[in-house]
Structures are given as structure tokens and as C-alpha cells.
Amino acid sequence: MKAVYFAWVRERVGATDEDIAPPAEVRTVGDLIGWLVSRGENYAYAFENAKAIRAAIDRKHVKHDALIAGAKEIAFFPPMTGG
């Protein structure tokens, strides 16, 4: 699956997107955040306040307890400031 990052999450991770292959025990968005954080300091920095991070699966907003099975694209970003 593909992970995509926006705004300061993107800046902190240091990438706009990447292919990821989390292990099977990573079932939810929250699990995925935990797994990413374990991969390096840049992720730890991006997700240091994990509750503040919003997520979308295949371009739809989801909560952190959403299951990631079957997802093609998972996006992480700060609260939106458009409008």
C-alpha cells in the first residue's frame, strides 16, 4: 500500500509518499501510526502528537480505529485549514 503525507506531516516525515508493507498485525490506522513511529525519528517527530493527526483511506476521512485491510492509499495530515 501507499502512504501519503501532507503539510507539516510531509515536512517532518521528509517524503510526499512511499510504498509501505506493514506486517499483518498492523490492522488499524492507529496501529499503522505506531508501526511508522518505530521506523525512525522522522516518523516519531511527525506523529509525536498522534491524536492530532488526521487520516484518510482511499481519499475518505477515517478515524484511527479504521481497519486498513484492502487500502490502496493511506494519507496522514494535520487538521485541515482550507476555506
Binding site: 501532507f6 503539510a7 507539516w8 475518505k60 494519507a75 494535520p78 485541515m80 485549514t81 482550507g82 476555506g83
Partner: protein
Amino acid sequence: MAVRVQSEPFDAAAEARALTAGRADVGAVVTFVGLCRDEGGTLAALELEHYPGMAEEEISRVVAEAQARWPLMGATAIHRYGKIAPGEDIVLVVTASAHRAAAFAAAEFLMDYLKTRAPFWKKEHRKDGTSGDWVAAKDADDAAADRWKA
């Protein structure tokens, strides 16, 4: 309904006219334009980042929700991205209905939901050369969106 995400400026008047052209059953058109403020002269520009694809889809979902809630005869939402200078337009919402209450409510709903659900993020470029704090989301915007929940 028309939804567009674009870097170019939009023509609010033309969009409003398009909703009433060739018909005489519309009694009320509300147009909202959100502009880039200069923040007391300190801001050089805003840079709007967006999530291509999702931005259009999410705005379309919000517009569909407005159409389900109010008897609209038309609704248009356009959101710009990229670098935007103070005084320039950022976002447009137009709603048309037989009566003003629906047009006003739907336009406010659309703006409240665009603020909190459309995947856009604003970065500030300051005139002193420093760049860029990311604009923080406001609790007031969440509260504004929450008031539409049943």
C-alpha cells in the same frame, strides 16, 4: 452542482449567473468569497497545499450533503490551491434556492464543512522573509461545523 479545485482565479459573478441562467424559479442566490488577508501587512502570501483527487471528492460529498439537507436549485464550490497573495480570492461557494433561508443555511454549512473537511492546508510566507508557519486549525471552525450535526 459544480465542484472545482484549481490554481487559477475564479469568476464569482459568472458562477452565480450560471446558477440562474435560463430559469425563473430561483428566488435567492447567496455567494460567499473567502479571501487571503494580509494579517496587518505582515503576510506576503499564503501557500495552499491540497490532496489532489480527495479535495474534489470531499468537496463533492459536502455539496451533496447540502443538497440533501436543503431544497437547492444549484450549488457551486471552487477552492484554489498554490500561492495566493493578500487580497486574492481563495474559495467560492454559491447556492441558489427558491427562498433565502435555504440558500443562506446551505452556504454557511458548505463553508463550515469545507473548513473542517476539505483537505487543504495553508502555509504562511511572511514579508520579513521567514516562511512558513502552517496555519493552525481553529477550535471555532470545529464548533461551527458541529452545530450542523443533528
